[in-house]
Symmetry: C2
Subunit: 213 residues, 2 copies
DNA sequence: GGCTCCTGTATTGGCGCCAATTTATGTGCC
DNA sequence: GGCACATAAATTGGCGCCAATACAGGAGCC
């Protein structure tokens, strides 16, 4: 069944899966995460569930109450805003690092994702929107030589559940974010570093709806 | 013996202790971390050791080889430099946030630690240097409203083992870092935001000896 | 009727055992 | 003497059991 040494890896992926489910709201804030339920739901062993929960606690997505269990952390808007601010800072710095490294082929690929995101804003699930958005930024950060910076950015992304903040996003704000993507591409092509840094900040810190990054 | 629900907390503190021991070089890079040895050394149970190791793997301080064991990660200078760069970015941003919030009492306390650090550069253990250094920055970041930013900065601090990089630091470079501390205080008093941001960058990215932050 | 206490049930959490596998040791052979 | 192979020891890693504790439901009491 479970081959030796693979439990670690399985727990890892389980944690990622649960992280996404929390982000998408399938596991609602305040909800109790009973170990037996999680075993059944994800087809995992008890130990894998425990390790995954432990990681999510470490990331601040899940709260642990001794002898009571685990529950999905309810999201303090202020804390979320702080995380978004950190993201904005790093995203601006990362943009500065890749502005001279993005070739035309990558920019074209980014444009495709920008189109996809814009289309999904109107008629598309949150998952589809998020996939396009994620891929856009993944492409953009791919040439960044500082892998730690990139890894940290994606880690921070996982700490801000889309479902929660996206709830506050009107279609208008999402459209604005969609247009940002095209503007980003334009500024990279123009090699306008200061303009890009400013836009990355705005893109991450859209007033009262800080999530679409 | 072990009271219920405390295992988690103990594993947490054990991870922190081991993290410091790795940072100080008491656990050398490449060294095998046998679970029985760790049990004996830290007076912990098997499970606590496992959880602690798991966390250190997650942080990138320890490498796990299936069915072989855990060993202290040997530190890629490039990766370290990347982490230091992230720290420099965030430290500059944090400085900008606290420059208007630091009162004279705190600045005086910082000055004490700056003196302590300078003294320990000449005759003092690495531990003493690091304690003064840490306290200086702790005081400086205390009024920062973005707690996530501060938490992340201290987390990043733990990922760069002082012993390893400090090895490259000549006394001259350490003294330069010590003077930086006084310069930081001066710039905060003068409310020179741009100068402070620049200095925080330099302070973190001292050429070829990027560790003293 | 409502409050309290008590019992039964569900859930978590730690501990120990044992299998799988790797490393070290010793023996025979070339 | 050195190499290959078999055997023994050591180590990790997963699984299951059971104690400790919290929660739910019901009975008894005021």
């Amino acid at each position: 069944m479970t081959r030796p040494g693979l439990g670690r890896e399985r727990a890892r992926t389980l944690a990622r899966t649960m992280e996404r489910d929390i982000g998408l709201g399938h596991l609602a804030p305040g909800e109790w995460l009973k170990q037996v339920d999680l075993e059944a739901r994800y087809g995992a062993t008890r130990m894998e569930v425990r390790q995954a929960l432990d990681r999510l606690v470490e990331k601040g997505l899940v709260k642990h109450l001794a002898r009571r269990g685990y529950r999905v952390e309810d999201f303090d808007p202020e804390r979320q805003a702080q995380i978004m601010e950190v993201r904005a800072i790093l995203e601006a710095a990362a943009a500065d690092q890749v502005i001279g490294l993005l070739d035309e082929a990558t920019l074209a690929a980014m444009e495709v994702q920008a189109e996809r995101f814009r289309a999904n804003v109107l008629d598309g699930t949150v998952e589809e929107q998020e996939e396009a958005n994620l891929e856009f930024h993944r492409l953009m950060l791919a040439p960044c030589p500082n892998r730690e910076l990139v890894a940290l950015l994606f880690d921070l992304r996982g700490r801000v559940p889309v479902a929660v903040t996206r709830r506050r996003n009107t279609v208008g704000l999402l459209q604005r974010a969609a247009e940002h993507h095209f503007e980003i591409i334009r500024l990279v092509r123009a090699r306008d570093a200061t303009g890009l840094a400013r836009l990355m900040r705005v893109h991450n810190l859209t007033p009262k709806a800080p999530d679409v990054g």
